[in-house]
């Protein structure tokens, strides 16, 4: 089945079985391997991408369901490998990345959440990332990074992507 979608701002077309998971289409057909497979059953959030602005687990979406949809993956965050977003930089600065496997999903969750709630409490950040498992950091540093970005954007408006 021919399926077109807007991926990271560009129109892309693929010819895949419609029940192929969006996760696999992104990784295998569009070569966007930033999106990871963890559990494959919607528990861990490693495959989290934005579909029409909503944070979803791409392992639970059939490619046939996203005909014409707008999709953002972790590759769409930075404009170039040298110019990270404030969120990506904060993950590095605060040590929020260890093995890195959860990082793309965490970044996409945080990216979407901060647009919805630009001034969250730490508890709200914890709730927001509750669908993303991290087995390395113990979450503190991830919450620190997201909180720092929110605070900085509050004091330096205009910085937000």
């Amino acid at each position: 089945m021919n399926i077109w979608m807007i991926v990271n701002g560009e129109r892309r077309e693929v010819d895949v079985p419609p029940m192929k998971r969006l996760l696999d289409t992104l990784r295998e057909d569009l070569n966007l391997t930033g999106t990871k497979e963890g559990c494959g059953e919607g528990e861990c959030g490693a495959c989290l991408v934005l579909v029409n602005g909503q944070a979803v687990n791409s392992c639970l979406v059939a490619t046939g369901q996203v005909q014409g949809a707008e999709i953002w993956t972790v590759e769409g965050l930075a404009s170039s490998p040298e110019e990270l977003t404030d969120l990506q930089s904060a993950f590095l600065t605060y040590g929020a990345v260890q093995c890195g496997f959860c990082t793309p999903g965490m970044l996409m969750t945080a990216h979407a959440y901060l647009r919805h709630n630009p001034d969250p409490t730490r508890d709200q950040i914890r709730e927001a990332i509750s669908g993303n498992l991290c087995r390395c950091t113990g979450y503190q540093k991830i919450v620190d990074a997201i909180e720092a970005v929110a605070k900085r954007r509050q004091t330096e408006p205009g910085e937000a992507p």
Partner: protein, 290 residues
Amino acid sequence: MKPVVFQRASTLEEALFLLAPPQPEATVLAGGTDVMVWIRSGGFHPARVVDISPLRAECARIVEREGQIAVGALCTHAEMASSPLLREKLPLLAEAAASVGAPPIRNRGTLGGNIGGSSPAGDMLPVLLACDATVVLQSAGETRRIPYSRYCIGYRKTVRRSEELITEVVFPLPAPTALARWYKVGGRRAQACSKVNLAAVGALDRQGQVAFLRLGIGSCAATPVLMENVAGQLVGCYLSKEAIDGVIPAISRDISPIDDPRSTARYRSLVAQNLVIRFLEELVATATAT
């Protein structure tokens, strides 16, 4: 293996046509939080999938109508949790929806999907029982309205016919004096499949006797259960300490929990007792306070 036939319905009419005979039975796909997992686990090979996610314009509304709240089957848990109308008029449903999974699951999983799968642990289902909600089933030929208390008739077995689509759920508004509570016990706060869940709605009359009591409990039998033995014993009675303690045998008659990877029958029985008693005590405390 033969490739899956995938059909995307763009309107309700088209969906009902695609489900109607003589077409072979199809699996209905919406948020995919169950279906995609069943397929990946390898035990489920649907021959035909009908994607109803484009039907949101017709089947994702939450409206008040003639003293009832109608919730479209394609409403996601996130939409139910944040709906101003539900939070005002039916907070029990909003609260239960907010306790499901985590944000990305709540962004995809739908009310209709929770009912279609009718897992004994489905978090929306005890709420449907406690509120005496009715499931609206549409097919090309007719519309059936079935109270959820008669909808799920065995382990993941429901009265839905293959040509029918769950389009809406209708909730009578609870009496303004009623106390409604949602309790969920799981292994952790997020992404937890319930070990026991309980939706409870009840009220005392002016004399302090139980005027009505509806308790829906999940993960304690092959289906979600309306606790009729408990209600039968307590309606019309004063909730004395003796009356509350005396309800434990009725709780045991209402449920038939099992051991499974999530919990044990013994633990579930104890939690079910504790939750029911907690609700009854809250009912007394609330009535005394007002």
